[in-house]
Symmetry: C2
Subunit: 477 residues, 2 copies
């Protein structure tokens, strides 16, 4: 019954040490950190891409289906814009909204390789039509199934083969993660990091960077794209934590209780039937100017998989604020997570940042209706801001979807040790542990986690102060 | 920013040691293991419960809704029987079937307490109308929300308060687990073990048992009910494994790939429209006598939450076979899991046993259509059977839903190291790790895992041989 098979260790401290070593390396074997913005600017110029808003009628291959009014591509692929009806019986709320439906699972994959004993990650300068600055650092591979089965009629996806058939022992992480539950219906992507040992032919639009370099670049606005951030959040980093306010079992139990206590009934409806939204030649929008609009763009001359195309995008009405309240307890860093319902989640709640909202949606709101802790983020004195930068969400589906991402040090008065219902203090290590599995940590919290991951050694140290590049509101509105 | 807060260890080896100690204790501080069957027999007599099949028309409070034909209770609570239409575009299959819809999340909770330094678990002798032998060992608490908010109009659920508001540090496990995806639409229950330190008033229908005692009782047919088995499978046991064929990261990656590669579209349809099924006064069934039937029972004189009631149940047409192929590699035990699609799963696949089927459904099938590895289970020579016993599924929804559960030692010829597509070798420790999170391990695999968990010290040892109580077919058909 016993075979001569070489066993693998189930998991190793070697990998976490190697990731930690990469996180403290603020320069690497390739491009200098300070040269990355110039390289991206050069790519921006070189790609000669132009994105302009067009009327829906000018979309090529996309149309509103007779009857349902759903917006779809004639191939039936890519994604559709449909309607969603969400009912929350436990809190007596319901609403309808447009939603992107994209059932196929994409791959967000970063290739890793050691140079001079330090792990580097292969990042791509990628054009996405919705990015406010067009070109950002993306994962090595960022591909929907339509991409790599070539529904675009485009060119092959570079480096894809490493993710479709990874070598045994080469996978550092591989987990299905949810994306924006307010804009996507049950979307998930495969977040992968795969290490290779052999030579990889370098491509001109790719650069090898350490985690530490990525951490430095995350201090800047709109450099590291959302897909990169969520993959980095999934990396199995270890944190030097000698304990936590609550054990892992208690955190898991609180989460299970939150998931069990919310009832969310969401079902798709025809886009034409969505109440409270209007459509004109250029936009699907709310007359009260809240939330977001659906619009169409034409993309010309890009160096993407195909050279020109048109597509719908979602554009939020105003910039968001996304932040963690941060405290140390007995010297151990903790962040305050929120068990948040989003209509598009597959399963009720996921862990979100302390604050995640678009303040402009609440200008008319009474104080009681304003999201908890929002003012803590908006009015944080500079010396309490541990992190602040503006990042945009995925530029392939969202246009100028920028949020100010913050980590703000708080105190017992503002954010008590005994967190209010629906909130819980967790350590970065606990958040990272949960992000190793599906549907625990939402995409906004994963952006903040990526920031913690790439600076793991500094969090909680005196050196981790005020890397704030500026204060809210974000530079670009 | 730093408060004087006492931190907890994130997780501790103490708990796994205490669970391991309980698993080797084949006798405990309470009832002798050998006395448990007599106690259950006495309870069976004392409860004076009679279950008889009745026509649907005699159901009290249940009726087929005009139009949809859905079977529901007039209160709108408990559960409904509706239709499900499942489409699997990736394999060109589709089917329709009746399905139980039960959106509310129940609690399956076992109370734990140390006696003489050993963890004991409070088990209940519980009447369930679908159990072939009426009374089995259930968790301390086995309650739907309808139960404990008293939609039954019944008595309060004993010990429930420990699970609704567990003490910090007292939760040993708390995870939402799926149930039968072939019979339930996206059902999940909260699987909890909560340890208490104070005195607990003993109730006559409850006994404290060690994990080792439960392991011994799991060798017997129909003693430990499904709800107990799934909770025991969720316990965070450690295994003395010095490695595995594939690392945890590789196992997770394989699972992610399996989940990503299957497309399952399941939507509810009116029961009256389900193709291929018929309804008469007594049953909803298939004319070809495959799969299962829906029927109604009246329960009289029970000591359950209410003394008499009637309800629908699902009854499989024949006993099932559920088994793990088992091998050791370099001395480390492994079982062969199958990434299995079930129409009622929330998310495509979960890890199932090597074999999970009702052989009677395949009597007309060609050799190619028979489930892989089935004959390995049916024709296993006695010396290869590491485990065999008959267990029934949840008696509150399923009637006489018995399967022969097996662990069969196999070899390279029958089950190669390089598993076929859709199958993977994992260690008991890896399976236990995954069962600590939602939707990785299906309920049948969790029954087999419970058997491994309660005998963790013996698996792979020479002592772990032939506890087979008999061979297939199960005694009761």
């Amino acid at each position: 019954m016993t075979s001569a098979v070489l066993l693998q260790p189930r998991s190793g401290s070697t990998l976490t040490e190697r990731l930690a070593r990469s996180a403290v390396a603020t320069e690497g074997a390739g491009i200098a950190t300070s040269d990355v913005p110039d390289w991206l600017a050069a790519e921006r110029l070189a790609c000669r891409t132009r994105v302009r808003q067009i009327p829906f009628a000018d979309l090529d291959g996309w149309s509103f289906r007779a009857g349902s009014g759903n917006l779809r591509h004639r191939s039936g692929r890519f994604f559709t814009v449909e309607g969603l009806h969400v009912v929350r019986p436990d809190v007596g709320m319901e609403w309808q909204q447009p939603i992107i439906v994209q059932t196929e699972i994409g791959i967000l994959g970063i290739l890793a390789k050691e140079f001079d004993g330090t792990l580097h990650f292969l990042m791509q300068a990628k054009v996405e039509p919705g990015n406010p600055n067009l070109v950002q650092l993306s994962p090595t591979v960022q591909a929907t199934r339509s991409n790599y089965t070539k529904a675009h009629g485009g060119t092959a996806v570079k480096y894809l083969e490493h993710f479709l058939d990874p070598p045994p022992g080469g996978v550092l992480t591989d987990v299905l993660q949810s994306e924006h539950g307010a804009w996507f219906y049950r979307k998930r992507n495969r977040n992968m990091i795969v290490e290779i040992t052999g030579e990889v032919p370098a491509d001109e639009r790719f650069r090898w960077l350490t985690l530490g370099q990525l951490g430095r670049l995350l201090q800047q606005d709109n450099v590291v794209n959302m897909d990169s951030r969520t993959v980095l959040a999934s990396a199995p980093l270890a944190y030097p934590e000698h304990g936590a306010i609550r054990s892992d079992a208690d955190v898991a139990s609180w989460f299970t209780g939150q998931r069990a206590s919310h009832e969310v009934r969401a079902h798709r409806i025809p886009l034409a039937q969505v109440a409270g939204w209007c459509r004109d030649e250029h936009r699907i929008y709310r007359p009260d100017q809240r939330y977001f609009r659906v619009l169409a763009v034409a993309v010309e001359g890009a160096n993407r998989e195909v050279s020109s195309w048109s597509q719908p995008l979602i554009e939020p009405v105003a910039p968001g604020v996304v932040g963690f309240a941060y405290r140390t307890f007995a010297g151990v860093p903790h962040v305050l997570v929120h068990a948040r319902v989003e209509g598009g989640f597959l399963d009720t709640v996921e862990l979100a940042p302390t604050v995640q909202c678009v303040p402009a949606n609440y200008t008319q709101a009474s104080a009681a209706q304003r999201p908890p802790f929002l003012d803590l983020m908006l009015e944080a004195p500079p010396e309490r801001v541990r992190y602040a930068a503006t990042h945009s969400e995925e530029g392939g589906r969202f246009r100028n979807a920028e949020s100010r991402y913050l980590v703000v040090a708080t105190d017992e008065a503002a954010t008590p040790t005994e967190a209010p219902p629906g909130y819980h203090w967790v350590t970065p290590g606990q958040l990272s542990w949960l992000a190793g599995h599906s549907r625990y940590v939402n995409v906004q919290a994963r952006t903040l986690l990526a920031i913690l991951q790439t600076r793991a050694a500094e969090i909680g140290q005196d050196s981790w102060v005020g890397h704030a590049a500026g204060r809210y509101p974000a530079a670009r509105t």
